[in-house]
Symmetry: C2
């Protein structure tokens, strides 16, 4: 499989138009917004042609480099990954991914079922050589800007070796996304002292310290360190990452609700609220998950961007633009090279690379 | 060991005055505030007598039922639990705990080193019969009031059996704290469908469903469900619980910082901020961790309340008042009876109670 590098209008994105919670109209609206905010890439829309063209007609996008690739079936949010693989070869999701495999597209973007997308990605594009398990990342707003957290749900468990691979993938992705040459990478743990946490996290830390000299590995970070911006890349297993991400979402909603209550609690507060409203709108924009929507399935031999199932048009546009950015900075080769190098060094130094997760019980 | 029930002014609390981040003055100030807000219990102050009496003199508490129990040594935040056990028998922490053991006090309260406190608790008071490992809980503000989350740091791993025990302990504690007869209890997981998550969490869910008919067990809750108030008691292992708690703290700080920025970003916002300030102060009070300070070490044969190391006087007062509340509703016997009953039923039904955590790998 060759790596596709391209830029600007040469980039081709395959967009799975079906299977999103808010429907085809919202996804196509997102396409319009992406172009309105400067997107140059060509987009092929994968899904039911009649539904797509009738919706597209009203959007005034006829001068944009958009094509339609018909696909009969739709993978729903309720389909199990195994079912999606068995019955889904005529689906829009399969079709978009096949475009990446054939080289027709540099990236696939889908707001559909995550498990199905991952299963199809592994089957069609295969995993990068040396990667045990792909991971799903998220972009997390912080006091200092943003960071990448992974895994946030692809695997409920991870061995030390897999955590090392997640670290390498997260670093390459963050660099491609932000062009920061040496992003800092930390392992999520329950304490910053070396003695705390699971054995397998300590093992992963040792391997990263001893075998990846090029990485700016900064040790452990605790849960509060994510939002405080203590690391550019935060590495954890998919269970902890998912709980952590959703805890942050719940906390933000709780505080948002309290804030609303406070600003409407009496007439004086309501007057004050009118004055602070514009500033609060800017703050709300920072908190809006749509702005950071669109995360690559890391570890696949090709670029597949997962857009949140409930994304609005703004979110879809963000995911499409992320696809364009990352297509300009392909990082699959870099991941493969780094993993090979780190594992060779770990073996040479007799580091416990192959220790299974089960042996790490405290 | 007998269980001590008492009420109002008959309750005796042993307060470890040393080892808190903000010093003896802040802790004693907390004692004053606790009495000012209606505390009736007697308090014995454990620590260096000269330091305590000289500080106490200026606080105008001479009419309160306060006594001093001299102890030479102090456990510091840097002492390892094993060191604390070996060298700490003359410490204020040991002395406060010994009062509970002897029956001189109904509860011990300490803002000192958590690991040392837990180790001393297990050694002096012993674990409740049937409990494998004690747990640390926290009180978490939610959209619907508050919930209890445990374990938040005593054990980095938990077997299915231990999760079941945490659920039973959390339920008894929540009932004692709030007098709600049937608190809802959920297991923290990555998805609300039965198929998701670790095997051991599913096993714990099966045991709670099949063997604890009296519990209002409501299945799984995701990370966002904690702050949304979807359960009264949220059960997880100490690693996930600690990461989740600290993630919420970090998120709250991030949003707080953005809010401050928004309210001072221009002259109009600053004017508005003056008007909304009183309402925001009320909101800040809800978010103030001091209000929910003071969590029992669950699973010990006696009441030991851990106050946050960095607590201010308000926080210390809250912990002391929690000690008084819980001393009025002893729940150690209830935990012992429920654990015995649930385990007997699980054995009778051939539920996989003894499955070790390692066997639960995906």
């Amino acid at each position: 499989m060759t790596e596709h590098t391209a830029s600007g209008q040469d980039i081709r994105i395959a967009l799975d138009v079906m299977g999103a919670d808010k429907g085809v109209g919202e996804v196509l609206d997102g396409v319009g917004r992406a172009y309105a905010s400067g997107l140059k890439a060509k987009i092929s829309l994968h899904g039911r042609e009649d539904e797509i063209s009738s919706t597209l007609n009203g959007l005034g996008l006829s001068d944009k480099p958009i094509s339609i690739a018909h696909a009969d079936d739709v993978i729903t949010m309720n389909d199990k990954p195994t079912e999606a693989l068995r019955r889904g070869k005529k689906s829009s999701m399969w079709s978009a991914m096949a475009s990446v495999k054939s080289g027709d597209a540099h990236a696939a973007v889908s707001s559909g079922n995550t498990g199905a997308l991952m299963a199809m990605g592994v089957l069609q594009l295969r995993k990068i050589e040396g990667i045990d398990r792909p991971a799903i990342s998220c972009i997390w707003p912080t006091l200092r800007g943003r960071c990448v957290v992974l895994d946030v749900g692809a695997n409920v468990e991870a061995t030390a070796k897999q955590l090392v691979q997640f670290a390498i993938m997260g670093e390459a992705y963050f660099r491609a996304l932000t062009e920061k040459e040496k992003p800092s990478v930390s392992l999520l743990n329950v304490g910053s002292e070396d003695l705390k946490g699971h054995d397998l996290i300590r093992t992963a830390a040792t391997i990263l310290k001893e075998a990846d000299h090029e990485m700016n590995f900064t040790g452990f970070v605790e849960g509060n360190g994510i939002s405080l911006g203590e690391a550019d890349v935060v590495v954890t297993d998919g269970f902890t990452g998912n709980v952590s991400l959703k805890t942050a979402e719940g906390t933000a909603r709780l505080i948002g609700s309290w804030l609303k209550e406070a600003l409407t609690s009496n007439i004086v507060s309501k007057m004050g609220a009118l004055l602070v409203k514009p500033s609060l709108e800017e703050m709300r924009a920072k908190m809006n998950p749509s702005n950071s929507n669109g995360a690559p399935l890391l570890g696949l031999n090709g670029l597949v961007i997962k857009s949140h199932g409930g994304s609005d048009a703004e979110g879809v546009a963000a995911a499409i633009k992320t696809a364009e950015t990352l297509a300009n900075h392909p990082f699959q080769d870099e991941i493969r090279r780094t993993v090979a190098k780190v594992e060779a060094r770990a073996v040479a130094k007799h580091l416990p690379l192959e220790e299974p997760a089960e042996a790490a019980a405290e």
